[in-house]
Amino acid sequence: MGLSWWKILAIVLLAFTITAGLLMDVPRLPILNETIRALYFHVTMWFGMILMLVVSVIYSIKYLRTGNLRHDDVAIEFTNAAILFGVLGITTGMLWAKFTWGDYWSGDPKQNASAIGLLMYFAYLILRNSLTDVHQRARIGSVYNIFAFSAFIPLIFVLPRLTDSLHPGNGGNPGFNAYDMDSNLRVVFYPAILGWTLLGAWMSTVRVRLKRAERKMEDKLINQV
C-alpha cells in the first residue's frame, strides 16, 4: 500500500512543528514568556477539532440523504477524533492557564464554552450507544450530530465575544496578531494546524477502515449460517 502523499505531508509537518515549535525564536513578552509556544500545540487542537467536526457534520448530512452506513462510519470516527483533540485542547489550555492566569480553571467564558461543547459530544456518544439497531443508531445519531453542531457554533464563536474574557483575542486582550510583530509565529502556526488536522484525519480513516472491515466480517458470518 505505502503511504499516500498527505500522510507523508502530515509526518513532515508535525516533525517540523515539534522541532521548530520548541526550538525557534519566539517573541519575548511579559507574563507569556515561553508559554507562547502553546500556540502551536493548544490553539491548533481547536482548529483541528472544528475542522473534523465540520467533516463529521457533512457526512451526517450525506448519511441522512442516502441512508448508506458507510457515510455514518466516517461521521462517528471523525467525531471521536475531534473529541480526542478537544480533550487535549482543554488540558493544554488548563496547563497554559495555570502558568499565565494562576489557576487551572478560572471560569473564563472560553473555558466554559469549550467544556460545554465537549459535554455535548459526550452526550452524542452516549445517545449512540443507547440505541441498539444499527440503522436507527446511525439515523438518530446523525440528527443529533447536526442539531448539536448548530448549537455548538453560537456557543464557541458568538457567546465568548459578548462577555469579557481573559483569553488572548478577547475583552481587550491582544490576540495573536498583536504579538506577532515579525511573523515568526505564523511560519510554524499554519503548518501546525494543517499537520495536526491531517494526523486527526489519518487516525479517523484508519478507524473507519477497521469498522468497515468488521462489518464485512460480521455480514459474512451471519450469511453463512
Binding site: 446523525s142 453560537p154 456557543l155
Partner: protein
C-alpha cells in the same frame, strides 16, 4: 399547512385538558421547587441578592420545562403516532409541538414568576423587558427541548438522555436569557439589552430551523 398546525395544536390542548393530572402535576412541580429553594436558601423577602434570585429562577424554569416537555413524544402510544404519521406532515407536527410547548413553558415561567414574587420578593424594575425575555426564552427552550425529546423518545432510558442531550444544547439560550433578565431586573436602559435580545432571537431561529429541517428524518424511523 397552517390549518394542519392549528388542528394539531387544538388536539394537544384538548389532550392536555383531558389529562388534567399531568398539567396540574407540572404546575405543582414549579410551586414546590420554588418553595424548596425558598426554604433551602433561608431567605426572607428581599434578602436574596439579585444575581442569585435570577439564577435560581432560571434554573427552576429550566428543570420544570425539561420535565414538562419530556413527555411530548412519549405520552401517546406507538399506534397513535403511526396514525399521525399517516395523516399529518412531519413539519406540521414539529411546528405544532414547538408552539404548544412554548405556550406550556410560558405558563410555567409566569407561574414561577408569580410564586417567586410572592415568597422571595420581586426585584424586577423593568417588567416589560423581563416579560419579553420570558417569551423569547420560552420559545427557545421549547424549540430545543421538543427536538431533543423527539430524539430521546427513540431510545431507552429516556429521562437521563433527555437531560444530558438537552442541557449542553440549551446553555447558549439559558445564558442569554439570564443576562437579559439580569439587565431587566437592574432596570437598565433597554438599549443595553438590544444586542443580546437579537442574539437570543438568532439562536432561537437557528435551533428552530434545524429542528424543522431534521425532524422529518427522525419521524420516519
Amino acid at each position: 399547512m397552517l390549518k394542519e398546525i392549528t388542528v394539531l395544536i387544538k388536539k394537544e390542548l384538548t389532550l392536555e385538558w383531558r389529562q388534567k393530572y399531568a398539567l396540574n402535576g407540572i404546575l405543582l412541580y414549579v410551586v414546590s421547587a420554588v418553595f424548596i429553594t425558598y426554604l433551602s436558601v433561608g431567605a426572607k423577602q428581599g434578602n436574596l441578592s439579585v444575581p442569585t434570585w435570577n439564577a435560581l429562577y432560571w434554573i427552576i424554569i429550566l428543570f420544570s420545562a425539561v420535565n414538562a416537555v419530556a413527555k411530548s413524544f412519549v405520552q401517546e402510544h406507538q399506534g397513535r403516532q403511526l396514525y399521525y404519521y399517516m395523516i399529518a406532515s412531519p413539519e406540521a407536527i414539529i411546528l405544532s409541538k414547538i408552539i404548544y410547548n412554548s405556550l406550556l413553558t410560558l405558563v410555567l415561567a409566569l407561574l414561577g414568576y408569580l410564586v417567586f414574587s410572592i415568597i422571595l420578593g420581586n426585584p424586577v424594575q423593568d417588567q416589560g423587558m423581563f416579560l419579553l425575555n420570558l417569551v423569547l426564552g420560552a420559545l427557545g427552550f421549547s424549540a430545543c427541548l421538543t427536538m431533543v425529546s423527539g430524539i430521546a423518545s427513540k431510545a431507552s432510558n429516556n429521562a437521563t438522555l433527555m437531560a444530558i442531550l438537552s442541557f449542553p444544547v440549551i446553555i447558549p439560550i439559558l445564558l442569554m436569557a439570564i443576562s437579559i433578565s439580569k439587565n431587566a431586573i437592574d432596570g437598565l436602559d433597554p438599549s443595553v439589552s438590544v444586542d443580546k435580545l437579537i442574539s437570543l432571537l438568532a439562536i432561537n431561529a437557528i435551533v428552530s430551523v434545524t429542528a424543522y429541517i431534521l425532524f422529518p428524518y427522525l419521524w420516519r424511523s
